[in-house]
Point group: C2
Amino acid sequence: MSQPRPGNGSGPPGPAAEPDFPDLPEATVARLPEYLRALHHLAEAQHDTVSSEGLAAAAGVNSAKLRKDLSHLGSYGTRGVGYDVALLIEQIEYVLGLTQRRAVALVGVGNLGHALAGYAGFASRGFRIVALFDADHARVGELINGLTVRHIDDIADVAAQEAIAIGVIATPAAAAQSVADQLVRAGVTSILNFAPCVLAVPEGVDVRKVDLAIELQILSFHEHRKSALTALPGAGLTALPGGLGPGAQEAVGT
Amino acid sequence: MSQPRPGNGSGPPGPAAEPDFPDLPEATVARLPEYLRALHHLAEAQHDTVSSEGLAAAAGVNSAKLRKDLSHLGSYGTRGVGYDVALLIEQIEYVLGLTQRRAVALVGVGNLGHALAGYAGFASRGFRIVALFDADHARVGELINGLTVRHIDDIADVAAQEAIAIGVIATPAAAAQSVADQLVRAGVTSILNFAPCVLAVPEGVDVRKVDLAIELQILSFHEHRKSALTALPGAGLTALPGGLGPGAQEAVGT
DNA sequence: CGCGATTTGTGCACGCCTTCACAAGCGCCT
DNA sequence: AGGCGCTTGTGAAGGCGTGCACAAATCGCG
């Protein structure tokens, strides 16, 4: 767990000493995974280098932003040429801590939990789900994707065997806080919460929340706004104003 | 302040002219759904008023931020008392355009799509899934939650009958762009994309993306950083520095 | 009727993030 | 070897969002 990296041989880090990355802008961290995905895509297409322009387009961001983001990791590009795809992949994966496949525990094997347990994207992008839990005894024992569902109260035992750093909560809102408490008690320090509620956790534990209905509600706001606009003003919706050639993704916040 | 609504009748909008909300800060819009959820929770608990402090705690945000957010909607609080829960719910629902239950089409009835189709949270929070689509003919005809899966090519016919404003893409990445194109062609102007790829859409179409693996990768970064910190510095992790009483949710970006 | 307690609404300052614009650096071609 | 074009890396400016701190407003009580 400790030993961030020895300064030696193979890995991306490079032989010399490294300050690691104590202070990457949070906004940058949130974009790195997107760059990483785009890079893997490029690698499969046999590209060995990319310009910031090209990578930015593939990731759906501004090229200046991308360069600034990458500059925070150090200089891994070559002026006049671009970035080495393989090198950049290694570097970003290292920064994100993906060189070790992190163990993830999933709690709540209902509708959504089932889907998450079977989601191939986790395995292919640096994670392995090592345990499934549920509070419902009727579900305990069920076999999903090669894993047996265990009762949530067993989580301490499982955590003792395997270092679980990340927990995913896919339970109803009413159960989420108590599940979070159990996860924290078992040593989990990062939680991805799909339940529509706010979690209280001790300092040092990170929580990210994904609320599917909220995403729709944000879209609904923009729909509401759009329909109000087309109803009122003179111009109405004449053939799309600027160019309509597929511009890069229209953001709508983040 | 501008007084967006005349003080008359029952519903929040009121029959008279309205400037609507052409310019709400995007960050505020993203938080309104969270306030709304907290408010519904309070309403169920028979509270008719809340202070900004109380609502902020329930929504996991700063009270000053909450007041500023709400002030953008107009003055719906009473100094010395707080906010009227029912009134605020109506107001936020109106702003978000939830007074009409928006019709949503879901494309991709695989692992995740199945779960989304059965997710009760959509129905209970202002949306109704009116159609399911898939490209796989083997899946067409399947009955899920009272809806029959249709082929993606039929989307134009369905859109003709029912005004579909929002489309949800839960297909593999390879199919997502082509599905998006079909949705746009059918008149959809808002897309929620679960596929791990960037979508190109014409101007005027809004896209929000949810990438489950990216969320985990962001957590992984913080794990990586935490383990590096505990390994190096003198103090190590002595009993949590500040207070460890469950503070409000630790954000980790948004 | 007046006063104090309480809570909203907001002006202001600070910091983060984005974007532009350009100098520095690298490879290639002649 | 020299010059030219291309691309990175970054300084600086502008905008947005956050949080503080306080004035204004309302209620309840004596």
